[in-house]
Amino acid sequence: MSVIVGRESRVVIQGLTGQHATFHAEEAIEGGTNIVAGVTPGKGGSTHLGLPVFDTVAEAVAETGANVSGIFVPPPFAADAALEAIDAGVEVVVVIADGVPVQDMIDVKRYLVGRDTLLVGPNSPGIITPGECKVGIMPSHIYRSGRVGVVSRSGTLNYEAVQQMTARGLGQSTCVGIGGDPINGVDFVTCLRAFEHDEETDVVVMIGEIGGPQEVDAARWAVEHMTKPVVAFVAGSSAPTGRRMGHAGAIVSGESDTATAKMDAMEALGLAVVRNPARIGETVARVVREIGSGLTRVAAR
């Protein structure tokens, strides 16, 4: 088993014929991902990478049974593509685009109300269950199949944490990039819940950044509901107040938005907080040893 995507995922790539989509779809297929179709409006009926290309997601779903969509279209068109995938009944929709207008995403979130689709992103590296399914742009070669779940706002910090773990022989069950935007799909809590219920995950790494209450809210949820340990890092201790640090959502507006305040709060709640981004792998290794020796039975009460 794994979280959100896995061996059973049948992936359609929206925007498959584009340059980045082609590069990453090829890499994903090599890594074992079951990509079944592409969608590029106007190119329906053609084939690309040996895959059938459709004009609409609805056709792709009807013809191939696709249940996961990876959206690789440019930011101005990403919300429309997401709405199309949700309307087609796709179970998981992953939006990679960085720069989707906030109000477009507010509309997408509204459209999700009452529907079962799980949205990942936007401004996300995607999601990967190593060896089974990759829907995204992450460099597959750094990932190894294993028992650590990873959830992060940042894409590149997800890679950073994973590389540190893989270098220590710690593989990953599933890695999710929830994205750096203020309006986004799955949040930390949704991912923590999924990892808690996943039999193949022993430890969860949560990587946040400045801005917003979500990390501490998730930590509070974890302490109340999880039996598995959570290792946490928040980027941006050295960031100035009032400046948007790249990600639309990464801005310190008040004291509780700072990385230090978040990490203090998470530590006080009992999470294994890492203050140095270069020590994430090391900390996970320590926590894994403690589980093995029965020392850590977690954040649990």
Partner: protein, 385 residues
């Protein structure tokens, strides 16, 4: 993107929000003429800079005659206004707004924000205007807006009632709120603030100050908003960077940073700080970084005279290490770089990237991981000192 108060008022006015009459002046004589044109006996002269806190810093003054309006404008224009929000360097005043002085009976607060918790736009209001609103969260009235319905009249009435805007003020309040929301949606704003929203002695309800900021990711579909950009209000280096698809924020340390991804860029700054030095900047080269983009990143980072060493930290996903490496090589050939460079490459096409750097003959330090990279950058700083 932020705009000036007078621009926000013009924009809001076009959506039916009640705003005071006003004249923008770029020179004292324009301010005097504006005051005469507006008429009345007292005027306010307001320095137009993007930062808030102008009142306390002396950037908002009352004048009793058109001549005094001119004298104040003379003093403000070209001066450097230092407010709580500008930082110690302050901001140069390039224009002033002249308005008839209003006789205020009550000051309220009204705003629209993107509510991250609700994942929707929310109308927020407070009966206490003219204050630092984030400090009084408890007194805020909040009404979340369903994007499919838009702001409804009943919601406006609810908020108006909570603000004590009953009777004859109810209808103008509803009209003002609806106009504010329509403006917000139709300009792709991220934040709108009317502070204060004032009840005047003549019984009218007016937006006495207004602040709007817009979604940079939607500017391309809002040409009318794009035209309001005032480049004089922005850091020239940040403008230069954004023109090349780079996200640059100047900081006060000595280690120049060139990183991909906002999260890794922040973590790199954190690692430098943990090793005892400080980052000179935040710089995210973004996805799809070409050699040209990387070369521009070097150029921009090096315009900061405080930069004594450069740390390149790239973890390529959608990027390619070979392109980044080519960028580093061409930057060091084109620019006269006299500071040490530490480069850490990882991810997509990393072997090709490392090969390009190794074969280039450049005197740079290659680091295997984040910790080594930060340590090497900080060490090179100490050697240079």
């Amino acid at each position: 993107m932020n705009i000036h108060e007078h621009q926000a008022k013009e924009l809001l006015g076009s959506f039916g929000v009640a705003v005071p009459a006003g004249v923008v002046a770029y020179a004292p004589h324009q301010a005097v003429a504006g005051a005469s044109e507006l008429g009345g006996e007292r005027w306010v002269v307001k320095a137009q800079i993007h930062a808030g806190g102008r009142g306390k810093a002396g950037g908002v003054r009352v004048a009793e005659s058109p001549d005094e309006v001119g004298a104040i404008a003379e003093e403000l224009l070209g001066s450097r206004l230092v407010t709580a929000q500008t930082g110690p360097a302050g901001a140069v005043v390039g224009r002033v707004l002249v308005e008839p002085a209003a006789e205020i009976v009550r000051e309220l607060y009204l705003g629209l924000v993107v509510d991250r918790g609700a994942q929707r736009v929310a109308l927020i209001a407070s009966a206490a205007g003219g204050i630092e609103i984030e400090e009084s969260e408890a007194d805020l009235v909040r009404e979340t807006i369903d994007p499919a319905l838009g702001l409804q009249d009943f919601q406006c009435r609810k908020v108006a009632a909570a603000l004590g805007l009953g009777g004859g003020l109810l209808r103008p309040a509803v009209k003002l709120m609806r106009g504010l929301y329509r403006c917000f949606v139709e300009t792709d704003a991220l934040q709108a603030e009317i502070n204060p929203l004032a009840v005047l002695a003549d019984g009218s309800l007016v937006a006495l100050d207004a602040k709007l900021s817009f979604d940079d990711n939607a500017i391309s579909r809002r040409p009318a908003v794009a035209e309001l950009r005032d480049l004089d209000e922005e850091d020239p280096k940040e403008v230069d960077a954004s023109g090349h698809g780079l996200n640059y924020i100047a900081l006060d340390g000595q280690v120049g940073c060139i990183v991909n991804g906002a999260g890794l860029a922040m973590a790199t700054m954190d690692a430098i700080t943990l090793h005892g030095a400080r980052p000179a900047n935040f710089l995210d080269v973004g996805g799809g970084a070409t050699p040209e983009k990387v070369s521009n990143a070097f150029r921009i980072v090096l315009t900061d005279p405080n930069v004594k060493t450069i740390l390149v930290n790239i973890f390529a996903g959608i990027n390619r290490c070979d392109w980044i490496a080519e960028g580093i090589v061409s930057a060091s050939r084109e620019l006269e770089i006299d500071v040490p460079i530490v480069a850490r490459l990882a991810g997509t096409n990393v072997e090709e990237g490392r090969k390009i750097l190794a074969e280039s003959g450049l005197a740079l330090t290659s680091a295997e991981n984040l910790d080594d990279a930060a340590a090497a950058a900080v060490a090179s700083l100490k050697e240079a000192a």
